[in-house]
């Protein structure tokens, strides 16, 4: 999972420490750090692509790198992710190819779904990373069903689902929490409390002070974690994994953090929150915090960071170049894949359009407002 291959480099210094935190090895700590950096760089570049008009939409996870990597790093290959739209870092850490993600952003012919989904809606069964829905909360109960299924089939798999503070108000947060507790599903609820649902602050979202307390309605364990401390997130997730594995059922993890960027490329946060507030949170930038920790462990150096970044940036640039150069998906793709077999009505529509319209000039217009 490590991005740079030269993992030996800092080992002499690191070895001075008898014991590294959370029982992690140096290379694991570096993998975490690098995954966080990759997430940050990926977000950064993609938002720029949108600003430059090269892709239609982007929603970044700036500030939420620890929430993503701390949780996902605790999972095993057989575990599952039911994500929301704000976990690019998780997809990358699971091994979803950067190129595949970039193809989604451009909606090109190489895209797994051939441009059928908006940007940031990734999918990868191979990596147990469920196709992302825009609809808030729906994945939560689905994750529970998946966990119930694993339990029924006696597989040792845990399902981790991500959703936001806004998501806790959705119908399927409620059904998901309730089903999970009632069926003791091996499931972890990662509530990324980034303080906002677009413009709505968490204080208008719910009147409970500690969102982890929502677990109490369901007889579930609920834990609040500093979502900017990647190792704290990792530890809490490990513990939740343990509970799930021994049949003690689900855990709600409230990862308290801050959405440091705009909601999405369509959003202007200055309309509803102060720069001071944002700056205050940026002092606890999760990457910076972890970097300091690694530095004190003798693992981080400027040169190391520069190396990693350079490597990441190259890969991203490469992926962008390829994705951008690919053509749109063929028109045929539009009509395929709704069912395992194509229905007659739809095939008639296909024939109608492909036979007659391909010569006519149909133009692509419109922009996304959110």
């Amino acid at each position: 999972m490590s991005i740079t291959q030269d993992q030996g480099k800092m080992s002499t210094t690191a070895k001075q420490h008898q014991k590294l935190p959370e029982g992690l090895t140096e290379s694991q700590l570096k993998a975490i750090y690098e995954a966080m950096l990759l997430t940050r760089e990926y977000d950064d570049r993609c938002l720029k692509l949108q600003r430059q008009g090269r892709i239609g939409f982007y929603a970044g996870s700036f500030g939420e790198e620890a929430c993503q990597i701390g949780t996902a790093f605790a999972l095993r290959e057989q575990d599952w992710i039911f994500p929301s739209y704000r976990q690019p870092g998780v997809a990358l850490l699971r091994g979803v190819p950067l190129q595949s993600m970039m193809n989604n952003l451009f909606g090109n012919s190489a895209d797994v779904v051939e441009g059928k989904q908006m940007p940031v809606h990734y999918t990868s069964r191979e990596h147990h990373f469920l196709s992302i829905s825009s609809v808030i909360g729906t994945q939560v109960i689905q994750a529970v069903g998946c966990a119930m299924a694993a339990k029924i089939k006696k597989d040792e798999a845990v399902v981790l689902t991500y959703f936001g503070d806004g998501g806790t108000s959705s119908n399927d947060f409620h059904s998901g929490m309730n089903f999970a507790a009632t069926f003791k599903a091996p499931c972890i609820f990662a509530l990324v409390n980034n303080q906002y649902a677009i413009s709505v602050p968490v204080s208008k979202q719910t009147s409970v002070e500690c969102l982890a307390d929502k677990a109490k309605a369901y007889g579930m364990t609920g834990i609040q974690v500093d979502g900017n401390d990647v190792l704290a997130v990792y530890r809490a997730t490990k513990e939740a994994m343990q509970r799930a594995k021994v049949g003690e059922g689900p855990t709600l993890l409230e990862l308290k953090t801050y959405r440091a960027g705009p909601h999405s490329s369509s959003d202007d946060p200055t309309r509803y929150r102060s720069k001071e507030e944002t700056e205050k949170w940026l002092k606890r930038d999760p990457i910076l915090l972890f970097q300091k920790e690694l530095e004190s462990l003798g693992i981080w150096t400027e040169a190391y960071e520069a190396d990693v970044k350079a490597s990441i940036q190259n890969k991203i640039s490469e992926a962008i170049k390829v994705a951008e150069s690919l053509p749109q998906p063929p028109w045929e793709s539009l009509f395929e894949g709704v069912y395992s077999n194509d229905p007659q009505a739809l095939m008639a529509q296909k024939e109608d359009i492909l036979t007659h319209e391909s010569g006519l000039e149909l133009t692509n217009e419109g922009e996304f407002p959110l």
Binding site: D111, V113, R125, S131, T138, Q142, A143, G145, I152, F179
Partner: protein, 324 residues
């Protein structure tokens, strides 16, 4: 062969499919210990245990949402929604998720869930125990919509649905759950999803219908045959995908079309049949396409027998198209 009701046929299909494939699981409100409020899941809990026959909390959204997750993982969930009227809390999961999973993931993920739900009027159930929401689902690409009209079809179609790779909204006409018995083979058989069934052939008028309306159409056709007219009755069986060819063939032969359905007339499924004919076979028509349907009102209680299409109304429509 065994004589059985539509309800027994459903129950038999569930028993057989659960025995055949251990990935088939059933979930819903009261489906376990109680065997379902209509008894469609009778005996499953006792036979297959609590893990495969799950009494759930009272949340349709939870039932369908968790079923989707199960299907994604590899099970074959057959959730029951106690009444079709209570499917709306799960509408988001059905429309946004169940229907779109395959398409939105490029086939990476599928959710072949079979949602069983009793629908329709005629049991004195009022607003909330009588609705026929099939049109909503037919307008939702990604779903298949299947409605049997008799015990034989019920067993064969439900088996197809469970063995298929796509989500199915399987709607059961509860008015005729126990209305009549029919010989149903004890051996395994399936009826494919797709083809309509010409249950009576005729040359003068085509009547398109499904579910409990097939019987209504038959009564009307009997009456018309006394007048010397041969009515063709097409039981659609599968509403989506629709067997367009059988419909057009019938209309081309008879030149007259009637659609019978219980749901509110406006934007009901019959509109699609009428539009399909008007788009593809208008030159064969010798009369207006008449829709004999429920009313544009919520479903009533006392006067439900006036609300619902009745043989007398279908018979009059037959006369109207013949005398046009």
């Amino acid at each position: 062969m065994a004589e059985m009701t539509l309800l027994q046929a459903i129950n038999t299909a569930l028993h057989e499919e659960m025995a055949r494939d251990e990935d088939v699981v059933v979930l819903g409100e009261d489906v376990g210990v109680n065997g379902g409020v209509f008894r469609a899941t009778e005996g499953l809990y006792q036979k297959f245990g609590a893990e495969r026959v799950m009494d759930t909390p009272l949340s349709e959204s939870g039932i369908i949402g968790s079923a989707i997750g199960m299907a994604v993982y590899g099970l074959k969930p057959v959730p029951e929604i106690q009444f079709a009227d209570f499917i709306y809390p799960a509408f988001d999961q059905i429309v946004s998720e169940l229907a779109k999973m395959r398409y939105r993931s490029g086939g990476d993920f599928t959710s072949p869930v079979v949602v069983r739900t009793p629908y329709g009027g005629g049991i004195r159930g009022g607003h909330y125990h009588s609705q026929s929401p099939e049109a909503y689902f037919c307008h939702t690409p990604g779903l298949q919509v299947v409605i049997p009209s008799n015990p034989y079809d019920a067993k064969g179609l439900l088996k197809s649905a469970i063995r298929g790779e796509d989500p199915v909204i399987f709607m059961e006409p509860k008015k005729i759950y126990r209305a009549f018995k029919q010989d149903v083979p004890q051996e395994d058989y399936v009826i494919p999803i797709g083809p309509a069934n010409v249950v009576r052939s005729g040359t003068d008028v085509s009547v398109f219908c499904y579910g409990s309306m097939v019987q209504v159409a038959e009564k009307a056709a009997n009456k018309a045959s006394e007048d010397g007219y041969q009515v063709e009755i097409v039981d659609l069986r599968t509403l989506y995908p629709l067997d367009i060819q059988t419909i057009l063939n019938s209309v081309k032969k008879t030149g007259r079309a009637i659609v019978v359905y219980e749901a509110p007339k406006t934007c009901g499924y019959g509109a699609e049949i009428a539009a399909t004919i008007a788009e593809n076979a208008i030159e064969y028509l010798e009369a207006p396409i008449i829709r004999v349907a429920g009313l544009d009102t919520p479903f009533p209680y006392t006067l439900e027998y006036v609300y619902m299409p009745h043989p007398a109304r279908v018979y009059r429509a037959i006369q109207d198209v013949l005398n046009f």
